[in-house]
């Protein structure tokens, strides 16, 4: 169910704010879409990965146990043609283990064989000789080693205020691993060609140009020698941002060795063991507040478990720190953070990118402040929430679209929050065996687009050109992993150019065909690249209309509307016909535009001061849960969500993102847990890595609010990650409201609640 809050459909718009069906929907629903493992390739061989069985050790040797199985080929680090590192932020993530192994599941060798079965059997014939070394799993031990990264930012002198303050609240909050569980596991096919682009890889990926860059680096090839294409993608959630680079290099290494196309497709177990996850976090918050609960100073330390290598940990940390103070006003802030190294699989990009962790930290901390001062969660947040013109710890002044209070109002109104929260709190002690109910509130924000000067540096292009049929081809590297970019871009382009969907073409993301408009990450696709698309197509359409006006000056100027070029006399001609005439006298029409950062202050990456994000999307959740007083089983009943999204281009998909993200957050908060024993996964399957099913989902009541962001297409903000931020703190707060149990660590499983109850009883 959804409703519209502060939105008004602008009358003059044709597509924006409507929810047309997505063009890939029927093929996806009927199973016709070709995912990485579906594409038929003649002469295809299959690759398997030989992985480290131990968390830490010296790699003595890798080789065939006996004679090589007939036809099978083995590739180890010794066979690498270039540097042994995947090019991401640094090159520290080995392509194949060399010298040491650093986590269970690390790729040590690759085998290829003519069939899947032969490849599996061949992989079992590879002997890996490892001398075990003591591993580090515990963060307290990891702290004694050098950090992978450290960062700090802040404003003023919080220490001085904390020293003087009457009320100082402290707390430590912890969040665990999370696995992406995209429907389609990772998969990639590679082939080498005698001429043209030398090597071609295709498969499941969010960012064709990341894969491209890392392939160029690993094989020492010129850029034009590498071609990367995205197949249909069965979900990503960030998990197909970093890892596809590795698996693409693996497939290409094997294809080079056997001189045939080779495909590697992980099954679920390999996917869980081998690929990146959400960084576990430990967060220490210390705040000074006045008697009304207003934040006077805040000191935060964020520690992320990076795993054995850094994929994208540095930027995950910086996004975490930039969101650590939450959507609150605080004059003196210090936020420090570091990424620690443990002998577990590297952690990487995951929807929210560090922000969900700190959202849990700050929201639980706000509840701790409320608990201390006896202020209800809504009032406390209303007193502290950012309003337009307030300053973030980076010194950034938040813009007119700052909607924290509107989001709070929306969820509180729909749930009658304060009254019922107070009643539930009073009923905590009446445990007559029947389930107890509670409400929990969270407020959050999410910086849309790349952090800092990422966009400025990338200076991403997107292009539009006329095709011989008189259509506009829109060229960008953005992928659709289910989020709906395919339809949203059609709406933006149709609206901006004044044409119909039939007048538009969208070539598949292929590095041979489309420019590098950057990765499909960071909630940037609609907001940043969508704006490029709008500008490019608008320019093409305008040039066609102007040229037509020159041919028919009597009714000039012409405009393009609903797929027709319309003159002042009201007479019109189909756009495609005019475009074809245009191409009869011109060779081509192609427009490439690049991202233009808004004028004004620039983010300083050394001091971490300035606008870290062009704008923020805002959200608030209220969760209502039922808790069994004896078993402490929790059932999330319903959630009210308010999301301020700038403008909802496609309300149905926008709601879909918010519902899906909220459920993913609730799963992380209540159920999902990677259990490790000596660095080995105890639950590497979907039967044991528990994610919520439809039966476990709360009823979701989403209200979209709109406060246009002038630099986004038709006012849209990026919202893909926003809904991941609020669910976990809201359900945990609701458990507290129901039971009085304070849980500062997720997942809040019944066992963990039980332990909290035992502790509480022994304290009494």
């Amino acid at each position: 169910m959804y409703r519209w809050g502060g939105c008004s459909k602008l009358a003059e718009l044709t597509y924006i704010g409507t929810s047309p069906p997505r063009p890939d929907g029927p093929a996806k629903a009927s199973g016709l879409s070709q995912y990485a493992d579906d594409v038929a390739v003649a002469g295809l061989w299959f690759g398997e990965t030989v992985r480290s069985p131990v968390a830490h050790g010296r790699l003595r040797s890798v080789g065939w146990r006996r004679a090589a199985p007939p036809g099978a080929v083995l590739v180890t680090a010794a066979d690498l043609p270039g540097p042994n590192g995947v090019q991401l932020i640094d090159d520290g993530w080995p392509i194949l283990a060399e010298g040491t192994v650093e986590h269970v599941g690390q790729a040590v060798a690759l085998v290829a064989a003519p069939s899947r079965r032969a490849a599996v059997l061949a992989a079992a014939e590879v002997e890996v000789d490892i001398e075990e070394l003591p591993p580090v799993f515990d963060l307290s031990e990891a702290r004694r080693q050098p950090s992978l990264y450290e960062l700090e930012l802040g404003l003023g002198d919080p220490e001085a205020v904390l020293d003087q303050a009457e009320t100082v609240v402290e707390g430590e909050y912890r969040t665990g691993h999370q696995e992406h569980i995209y429907i389609e596991c990772q998969g990639m096919t590679a082939r080498w060609h005698p001429s043209g682009p030398r090597v071609e890889v295709s498969g499941s990926m969010q960012c064709p140009y990341y894969v491209h860059k890392s392939m160029v680096h690993a094989f020492g090839l010129p850029e034009e020698a590498v071609r990367v294409r995205a197949d249909a993608i069965g979900g990503g959630f960030g998990g197909k941002e970093d890892y596809p680079s590795l698996i693409a290099i693996h497939a290409a290494l094997l294809a080079r060795a056997v001189e045939r196309p080779v495909r590697i497709v992980y099954d679920r177990q390999q996917d869980i063991i081998g690929t990146t996850k959400r960084h576990p976090a430990t967060m220490r918050y210390r705040s000074a507040v006045d008697a009304e609960g207003r934040l006077l100073a805040l000191d935060v330390l964020v520690e992320l478990d990076g795993g054995a290598f850094t994929t994208l940990s540095k930027v995950v940390l910086s996004r975490a720190l930039l969101h650590a103070a939450g959507p609150y006003r605080c004059p003196e802030v210090r936020v420090r953070g570091r990424v620690l190294r443990t002998h577990t699989a590297p952690n990487g990009a995951f929807r929210g990118f560090g922000a969900p962790q700190v959202a849990f930290g700050i929201e639980r901390h706000m509840d701790a402040i409320g608990r201390r001062l006896g202020i209800d969660p809504l009032t406390l947040r209303q007193r502290n929430a950012l309003v337009p013109g307030d300053r973030l710890p980076t010194g950034q002044i938040v813009d007119e679209s700052t909607s924290a209070l509107a989001c709070l109002e929306s969820v509180a109104r729909r749930t009658d929050f304060v009254t019922r929260w107070t009643e539930y709190q009073a009923a905590q002690t009446e445990t007559n065996g029947t389930p107890q109910r509670g409400l929990g509130l969270s407020l959050y924000f999410h910086g849309a687009g790349f952090t800092g000067n990422g966009e400025r540096r990338m200076n991403s292009p997107a292009s539009a050109r006329l095709t011989p049929e008189g259509r506009i081809a829109v060229l960008s590297a953005m992928t659709d992993m289910g989020q709906g970019a395919v339809i949203v871009f059609r709406q933006i382009a149709g609206e901006a150019a004044g044409v119909t969907f039939d007048d538009l073409e969208f070539p598949e993301p292929d590095t041979n065909e489309v420019p590098n408009s950057g990765p499909t990450v960071a909630s940037r696709t609609t907001m940043i690249v969508g704006q490029l698309v709008a500008r490019a197509v608008r320019e093409v359409s305008a040039q066609v209309a102007d040229w037509w006006g020159e041919q028919q000056p009597a009714a000039s100027p012409y405009t393009v509307k609903d797929g027709r070029v319309v003159g002042q006399d009201g007479r019109s001609t189909p756009f495609a016909a005019v475009a074809r005439s245009y191409l009869e006298v011109h060779d081509a029409l192609e427009v490439t535009v690049r991202h233009q950062p808004a004028p004004g202050p620039v983010f300083d990456e050394t001091t971490y001061q300035g606008p870290a994000y062009p704008t923020y999307a805002w959200g608030a959740d209220i969760a209502e849960v039922e808790v069994d007083p004896d078993t402490l089983a929790v059932r999330p009943l319903r959630m009210a969500v308010a999301a301020e999204v700038g403008r909802a281009i496609h309300p149905r998909l926008c709601i879909g993102q918010i519902e899906g993200g909220t459920l993913q957050a609730v799963g992380w908060g209540l159920l999902e847990e990677i259990k490790l024993d000596q660095g080995r996964y105890l639950n590497d399957r979907l039967a044991t890595y528990i994610i919520p099913t439809a039966m476990d989902a709360p009823d979701l009541d989403v209200e979209l609010l709109e406060a246009a962001f002038p630099d986004g297409p038709f006012g849209a903000k990026g919202i893909g990650e926003l809904p991941m931020d609020g669910g976990a703190p809201a359900v945990v707060a609701a458990i507290e409201n129901a039971t009085g149990l304070v849980v500062d660590e997720i997942p809040a499983t019944p066992e963990r609640l039980f332990a909290a109850q035992m502790r509480e009883r022994s304290d009494d």
């Binding site: 599996v120 069994d628 078993t631 089983a633 080995r680 399957r685 099913t693 066992e751 039980f754």
Partner: protein, 348 residues
């Protein structure tokens, strides 16, 4: 990618042929019905098979029908969903529908059969893992290994019974018919099981389970039954503990006869005898049910070999037993559990 190992596959259409094949093909011969347990087990190399005999082609082995004596017979290869949704089952044996509705998910209930569910393999955290995982701990007694990781000094395997229909059918005093080349026999369901995680079936390896019989005296006109299942989610997950209860009351509300069976706490559906004894001849009050649940709970001595920490499971087992008893008597079960599907429509 995990694949099935190679094996010979037979699909007889006649029960006698199937029994002859099973008797003649050697020890590595296995039966398959819906395959929702056997195929994954073969894929993960928990079980081996040189020949697999499918029962799904055998005429007359599936179906639900009322018998002359007023009871019900259910063919072993009847899909779980057919059993649970059968109007007579829903009306006369609601506890059974309830138990079956809690099994896995709708697609698996369409494939899985009632006979397969009664013979389903026992489970354990150290066993239900991939081949590589188990290899890395050098396996365990239940498959290829030497010791039991749950109880290393124990000479036996403690893998637990996983079937949700078994405790309920046992509490409903069901009987089963077993057929082999040596003939057929009909035994009370509990006699089909034994207390061993590896050899969990007392049925002979050459016997085919053909029919499940429910007596007329176990229907809703004669008794009250209830089923509760502990697991993390409202769907898919196996039981971490389940409790099935049937109570026969006389005209004064006094308990004449009772059955309480616990699932997933032992290698077989475990009867709670002491608890049942305490109930007989009494008019149940909430206080009595608390005492009875406590007696039954002592039977539930979970090993640390499923999801959830054993300490927590122990603490909550009584609550589930109590809920089933209270519900059977029309009281509020006073238990919050993940919702699971009932009658094809989600309930809350």
């Amino acid at each position: 990618m995990i694949r099935l190992p190679p094996f010979a596959y037979r699909r007889p259409t006649d029960l006698a042929d199937a029994a002859a094949m099973l008797a003649g093909e050697g020890p590595e011969t296995r039966l398959v019905a819906g395959g929702t347990d056997l195929w994954p087990n073969l894929k993960r190399r928990h079980q081996q098979a040189s020949t697999v005999i499918s029962l799904m082609g055998i005429q007359g082995l599936a179906g639900v029908e009322e018998t002359e004596d007023g009871g019900l017979r259910i063919g072993a290869t009847t899909p779980l969903s057919t059993v649970a949704d059968h109007p007579v089952v829903r009306w006369r044996y609601p506890g059974l529908s309830r138990a079956i509705d809690s099994i896995s998910s709708p697609p698996l209930r369409n494939m899985g059969t009632i006979g397969g569910n009664l013979c389903v393999d026992t489970r354990c955290t150290y066993y239900n893992q991939s081949e590589e995982w188990r290899r890395s701990i050098n396996y365990c007694m239940k498959a290829a290994g030497e010791i039991c990781w749950v109880a290393p000094s124990s000479p036996r395997c403690w893998a637990h019974s996983a079937s949700d229909s078994a405790p309920m059918l046992a509490a409903l005093e069901a009987e089963v018919e077993l057929v082999s080349t040596r003939g057929s026999r009909r035994i009370p369901l509990p006699q089909m099981y034994q207390d061993d995680g590896i050899e969990y079936l007392a049925k002979q390896p050459d016997e085919i389970l053909t029919t499940i019989y429910l007596p007329a005296t176990s229907d809703a006109a004669h008794c009250r039954s209830s089923f509760w299942k502990l697991r993390r989610r409202g769907s898919i997950d196996f039981a971490v503990m389940s409790t099935a209860t049937t109570l026969w009351l006389d005209g004064h509300g006094r308990v004449e006869r009772a059955a309480i069976y616990l699932g997933a706490v032992a290698s077989f559906p475990k009867p709670a005898d002491k608890a049942v004894e305490r109930l007989i001849g009494e008019i149940p009050t909430p206080e009595l049910l608390d005492q009875v649940s406590e007696l039954a709970r002592r039977k539930a001595t979970p090993m640390d070999n499923t999801d959830f920490q054993a300490q927590w499971r122990k603490a909550v087992a009584g609550k589930y037993i109590r809920a089933a008893l209270r519900e059977a008597l029309g009281m509020d079960p006073e238990l919050l559990a993940p919702k699971h599907q009932a009658g094809g429509t989600p309930t809350s």
